[in-house]
């Protein structure tokens, strides 16, 4: 099953990935990262199709897509 990993040290919580994901797989954490943002995270494990749309729009190279 494809998945994404979000680098919490890079994510600035802009939410652009949540909007870009065609499967609505991404949600925001409700706890602060060390850098002071609410980082993005994969909401459900079996949701991701590995399309990399989230990576494409992420301004901060915070997402790695695995397939």
């Amino acid at each position: 099953m494809p998945k994404i990993e979000v680098d919490e040290m890079r994510c600035k919580g802009c939410k652009l990935c949540t909007k870009a994901c065609p499967k609505q797989c991404i949600e925001m954490s409700d706890t602060f990262s060390k850098t002071g943002y609410y980082p993005a995270k994969l909401a459900k494990q079996d949701c991701c199709i590995g399309c990399a749309m989230c990576y494409t729009v992420c301004p901060d190279l915070a997402i790695t897509v695995y397939k």
Binding site: K15, L16, K19, C58, D60, Y66
Partner: protein, 251 residues
């Protein structure tokens, strides 16, 4: 399971100073990917502007120079003429390029300098706190026109790509946007062409990128994307304004 996405090698592996959602960061990544794909990292020179991208030279792992406000195209001209084998690009915001630097960009384009210019149009002065830019939309508020740009007082926005297209020398001029994944992919194609043209010695290549400045527009990044699509795109239509690269290649 293997990673299918990779950080561009030509970008320094550090977090940027840009605000959350800022279009500059997306365009940096696209340029980084293009430099990697064309294999030109060891001969690329970035000319960084004054504006939020003033530190852009720290994010690209290539030769760099940071110029006085708006003078990027003149500096790029000098580097390219002195070292024709280098791949020189001037990276500029709309305050830098279309206000104080308007003379430099027009004359570099008119001379047909064989450089690449990446022009970030976010319709505002970002770095200095949201003053009106020449590209600010009619009715769009800025700190220097708090009730919105009024054409009677401040005139109308300048469409830089259309204006430069009137000149004979430029070989490639396109306007793209980074508001959605499909448009980011198109933006990368345009940036790649603008660099490929320089590799092929085609001539002056210019890509205008419609970009968001959530901080100074005073909206969250997702709303800023809506503003870009609904308000900026009607004033600044996407598309190719000039593409004469092929004629040159055929010679």
């Amino acid at each position: 399971m293997n990673p299918i996405t990779h950080k561009p090698k030509s970008l320094v592996d550090i977090s940027t100073h840009y605000c959350p959602g800022c279009g500059h960061s997306v365009v940096h990544r696209l340029i980084g990917e293009v430099i990697d794909e064309l294999g030109i990292q060891n001969r690329t020179v970035i000319v960084a502007p004054v504006g939020c991208a003033v530190f852009a030279d720290k994010y690209f792992d290539c030769d760099s120079i940071q110029g006085p406000h708006g003078r990027g195209p003149a500096i790029a001209t000098g580097i390219k003429r002195a070292k024709p084998d280098s791949i020189v690009f001037s990276y500029q915001g709309d305050g830098d390029l279309a206000s104080i630097g308007m003379a430099e960009i027009i004359h570099a384009a008119a001379r047909g300098e064989k450089i690449t210019v990446i022009f970030i149009n976010n319709a505002i002065y970002g770095m200095t706190g949201g003053q009106m830019a020449p590209t600010t939309l009619v009715g769009q508020p800025a700190t220097t026109c708090p009730k919105g740009r009024n054409p009677d007082l401040q005139g109308y926005p300048i469409n830089v790509s259309e204006m430069l297209s009137q000149l004979k020398s430029p070989k490639y001029i396109e306007r793209v946007s980074v508001d959605s994944a499909p448009n980011v992919i198109k933006a990368k194609k345009a940036i790649k062409k603008a660099f490929q043209n320089q590799v092929d010695n085609v001539g002056f290549s210019f890509v205008e990128v419609l970009s968001i400045c959530p901080t100074n527009w005073g909206v969250e990044p997702i709303k800023a994307l809506d503003f870009l699509r609904e308000k900026m795109m009607p004033q600044y239509p996407l598309g190719v304004f000039k593409d004469e690269g092929k004629t040159q290649e055929g010679k």
